[in-house]
């Protein structure tokens, strides 16, 4: 090593070349390392994108817009016979009361088409809360009460800013609107506002006008709704960033909503309905309550079946099974079942439980059965690992003081393995919670509004509800889908956190 100087060779190379070669090798080393970091980075970015996307899409599902209205609970519309019987009150015409109350804000709306359009801003279930309130307290009949009426999904999306951006420019000076044949011409005094564009809307107390053409000083416009020529200095300009044809709320509806908003009648609140209502064809009324209860029932059936069977199988295979052909078959089977695609379990459920045994379709009972078979390998494998982790000295000590092998297992080993078994079971249940495909097979795709009353009633579960909603054309259901996903992920998070907690808190290292 001491005579290493210029001119000597290393591995057949000159020292300079060897140094360059080394540098190259170190670069390759750094590059290889960077690939690894990049791979993990891409995975992390994907995960972050997924969560950001779901949260961004789903959080609006937890917000709803309601319209505050003063409504007189009219005796003749609700309960003309004055029975005060809640059942009769519920059949009353609450919808028209709410519609009339809304119409009172817009005295210029008279045509049938426009009245219908105005009423369509309200949800078809807008009167539900009002109806229940009056039915619960018939003394309200005849009184004027303040209610909150749910807005339709389109109006709700507009108010959440998902349909278009809105800009309002204050107006200075005055504007004159003159009718010339079918067209209206606008003349601004002293001058037209800078940057005026076709499509902008001029709002005046006497009506609204959409600018159609700007040719030099001549500005033509068409009226929105009922409008008449006038001159006023009380005006402003409204600009929607999305053209009318590309959104589900047209200019007139948008102006109505803006007017209601400026009067402070529109209230934004947490959509408890999303958690407490059943499924519905109307996005603003749809909720996940039915799916949640279906999920709970299904998972209960799964747990009741697969925990005892799984633990028993694990105890047998780990503690008592003789080394023979049959035990080997069982072990191979468990490993193979863990790799069978979940949809095949759905086929099993369909052919065996539904067609052969004649169990009811769509029922949590069958769903729970199929999921139990699906997660059984997970639970058996986890329980075996937990049993194996208990040191043999425990068993030997128990046998040494005269316990039978079963007493040693059930009195000493099993209690010590319980935390590990619980962790495995929770993780298995989390798997079952996210499963969708086998449940589609056994018909848990029905449209179910009510909460299932028992394990043989038709029901749906949260992941299937997500799948069903994701298939619907209304854009408002997209938010509902993402909202339901947030709830599902929340449940999974809680379950996994519980598993980690159990592991940290109770598991003993030997």
């Amino acid at each position: 090593m001491t005579d290493m100087a210029a001119g000597t060779t290393v591995g057949g190379r000159s020292a300079a070349a060897a140094e360059a070669h080394m540098a190259k090798r170190y670069r390759a080393e750094r590059r290889f390392r960077a690939y690894g970091i990049a791979a993990l980075g891409i995975t992390a970015i994907f995960l972050v994108l997924l969560f950001v996307d779901i949260l961004g899409k789903g959080i609006p599902a937890f917000v709803e817009h309601r319209l505050t209205l003063k409504v007189t609970a009219d005796q003749t519309a609700i309960d003309p016979q004055k029975t005060n019987d809640p059942r009769i009150i519920r059949t009353g015409d609450f919808d028209s009361l709410i519609r009339d109350s809304l119409r009172a804000f817009f005295s210029d709306v008279t045509s049938r088409g426009e009245r219908k359009k105005l009423a369509s801003l309200l949800s078809s279930g807008a009167a539900d809360d009002f109806r229940e309130r009056v039915a619960a307290d018939p003394s309200l009949i005849g009184k004027e009460i303040t209610i909150q009426a749910l807005l339709s999904d389109d109006a709700d999306q507009y108010l959440k800013g998902q349909q278009t951006d809105v800009q309002v420019f204050g107006g200075e000076g005055s504007v004159a609107v003159a009718a010339a044949r079918d067209l209206f011409t606008l003349s601004f005094l002293p001058r037209a506002p800078a940057g005026l564009l076709p499509g902008d809307i001029l709002r005046t107390p006497g009506g609204a006008y959409r600018i159609t053409q700007i040719a030099g000083a001549t500005i033509t416009a068409e009226p929105i709704g009922m409008s008449a020529p006038l001159t006023t200095d009380e005006w402003d300009l409204v600009r929607f960033s999305v053209p009318e044809g590309n959104r589900r709320i047209d200019d007139q509806e948008a102006l109505w909503l803006e007017a209601l908003k400026s009067q402070g009648l529109i209230e934004r609140g947490f959509a408890w309905r999303f958690l407490t209502a059943g499924d519905s064809r109307e996005p603003e009324l749809a909720g996940i309550r039915g799916a949640l209860f279906g999920t709970i029932l299904t998972l209960l059936v799964t747990l009741v079946l697969c925990l005892p069977i799984g633990v028993a199988a694990a105890i047998y295979l780990e503690e008592f099974a003789p080394k023979n052909k049959f035990t080997e078959i069982i072990e191979v089977n468990i490993n193979n079942l863990a790799a069978v695609p979940s949809i095949v379990f759905g086929l099993l459920g369909l052919a065996m439980f539904l067609n052969f045994f004649g169990l009811p379709r769509s029922a949590p009972l069958v769903g729970g059965l199929v999921l139990a078979l699906l997660v059984l390998p997970t639970i058996i494998i986890a329980s075996r690992a937990a049993l194996r982790a208990v040191p043999p000295s425990i068993r030997e000590a128990a046998l040494g003081v005269g316990a039978s092998p079963q007493q040693a297992v059930f009195h000493h080993i099993l209690p010590l393995a319980m935390p590990g078994i619980m962790t495995g079971t929770i993780i298995g249940m989390a798997h079952a919670l996210g499963e969708t495909a086998p449940l589609l097979m056994i018909g848990m795709v029905a449209f179910i509004v009510d909460v299932p009353g028992g394990i043989t009633d038709a029901a749906t579960v949260l992941p299937v509800q997500i799948y069903l909603w994701s298939d619907l054309p209304e854009t408002a259901f997209q938010a509902k889908t993402a909202g339901a996903i947030i709830i599902l992920l929340l449940f999974l998070f809680v379950m996994n956190a519980a598993a980690i907690l159990v592991r940290r808190r109770f598991e003993r290292r030997w």
Partner: protein
């Protein structure tokens, strides 16, 4: 009535336990000796009573409902009863009437049949209850009398427990048998409609047009799986190498949960992401560079599917890389190799069989995955290798053919079972080979 039966069952079981334990204690006091603890005598009697009453229920209950149905059919119009379809509909209506859930006005014949059904059902219930009571009490008293100092109650009970444990572990075998039988049976029925040759090698898939060639589905499945493994292979393997060879404990503490979270995300969520976010992005990116991308392209589904199987590839590869003996690495370092050279030239070749099996397991996951492709891939069975067009997969077709369909004799629904059969054996074979490779490889280093 079922509730009442199970209440009786519970009451008799508890009574058997208490009586048996008491009696055994009394015997112990009298004889001054007892082979088994009194609890075991109680437990044995209780288990025997429980087993007897459960078997009565399992055997008598179906007989009872069969009897009730026969009684209803006998009371019906013979023409209706002879036609299985009409009889089935009438029986469903009768069941509704009995539960009081029938909508509308029931005809007189139906009402009388329902009355016969209800009467026969009631009789069957009473018989069931009586038999259960007799069986439970009979077993209880027969065994109660046998409690004696020499009786090996613990051994008897433990034998019962062993059989129960064995039965529970046999559930896994039963499940496999159930899958094979149910799928195979329907598949054979399908092959009476369509020849297996046509099914396996036909180039056209259109169940409505009565052509059942599964090659387009297979190609679609393999195309999406290929895209997925092209995504997950490098990403998963490189993450595994980094985690096993380079990562500090802190990096591991961050990366391991990351992959676990990814593995725990339900596939329906990934499907939603693929269909509503990834597919539109790919579509607009494609049109920006002048490519016409289908809105349900194989690429979007494959990409997200690849993300789904990254954890499978990485966690299994991580295990096999960790299993490579340290002595091999040390030898390589001693020769002057850098870390990456050691990994590429020594560790990876040594771990190759395990990595191959990890890839095979990931592929089998991807082939069997349903929700991502149902939501993000199409329904059109195009025979193409172009990843930008819509293709369909085996799982999508199974789901489409079976969801919402009630009839069970058409070639359409039966073909879904044939597809399920193919899927089952495909994944099973992949899995079997992968596990064999792993086992062989493990033996090498043990």
């Amino acid at each position: 009535m079922t509730g009442l039966y199970f209440a009786l069952l519970a009451a008799l079981t508890i009574a058997a336990f208490i009586l048996g334990t008491h009696r055994a204690r009394a015997v112990r006091v009298r004889a001054g000796y007892l082979h088994s603890l009194p609890t075991y005598h109680g437990l044995f009697i209780a288990t025997a009573v429980f087993a007897a009453m459960i078997s009565v229920y399992v055997f008598v209950m179906p007989l009872g409902s069969f009897y009730a149905r026969q009684a209803a059919l006998a009371a019906m119009n013979p023409a209706v009863a002879a036609d299985p379809l009409q009889a089935g509909a009438a029986l469903r209506d009768i069941a509704l009437i009995t539960r009081g859930a029938f909508q509308g006005e029931a005809s007189e014949a139906l009402t009388s049949a329902a009355a016969a059904y209800a009467a026969a059902g009631k009789l069957a219930q009473v018989v069931l209850f009586g038999l259960g009571l007799v069986a439970g009490c009979g077993v209880l008293f027969a065994l109660y009398g046998r409690i004696a100092p020499q009786r090996r109650a613990r051994n008897l009970f433990e034998r019962l427990v062993t059989y129960t444990l064995l039965a529970c572990s046999a559930v896994a075998v039963l499940t496999t048998v159930g899958i094979v039988v149910s799928v195979l049976f329907e598949t054979l029925r399908f092959f009476t409609h369509v020849s297996p040759i046509q099914f396996l090698f036909g180039l056209q898939w259109s169940p409505t047009g009565n052509s059942y060639g599964m090659i387009p589905l297979l190609v679609g499945t393999l195309l999406i799986t290929l895209i997925a493994i092209l995504v997950a292979g490098p990403l998963g393997l490189l993450s595994a190498i980094y985690m096993a060879e380079y990562a500090t404990p802190r990096t591991r503490a961050f990366a391991k949960p990351l992959l676990e979270i990814l593995a725990g995300i339900p596939t329906v969520v990934l499907g939603f992401f693929a269909a509503l976010t990834v597919a539109p992005i790919i579509r607009s990116a494609g049109s920006a560079i002048g490519l016409n991308v289908a809105s349900e392209s194989a690429f979007a589904a494959g990409l997200v599917m690849g993300m789904m199987i990254i954890p499978f590839v990485s966690s299994l590869s991580d295990d096999v890389i960790n299993a490579v003996p340290q002595s091999l690495r040390d030898g390589s370092y001693a020769m002057g190799a850098t870390k990456s050279e050691t990994i590429q030239k020594v560790v990876l070749p040594a771990a190759l069989p395990g990595i191959v099996s990890a890839f095979m397991l990931a592929i089998s996951r991807a082939i069997g995955e349903t929700m991502i492709v149902v939501m993000a891939a199409g329904l059109a069975a195009n025979l193409t290798f172009n990843p930008l067009t819509a293709v369909t997969t085996v799982t999508v077709q199974i789901k489409t053919l079976l969801v919402g369909d009630q009839e069970f004799d058409s070639a359409k629904t039966l073909s879904a079972f044939a597809l399920g059969f193919v899927l089952f054996f495909f994944t099973l074979a992949l899995n079997y080979i992968a596990l064999r490779i792993v086992r062989k490889y493990k033996e090498q280093y043990d």
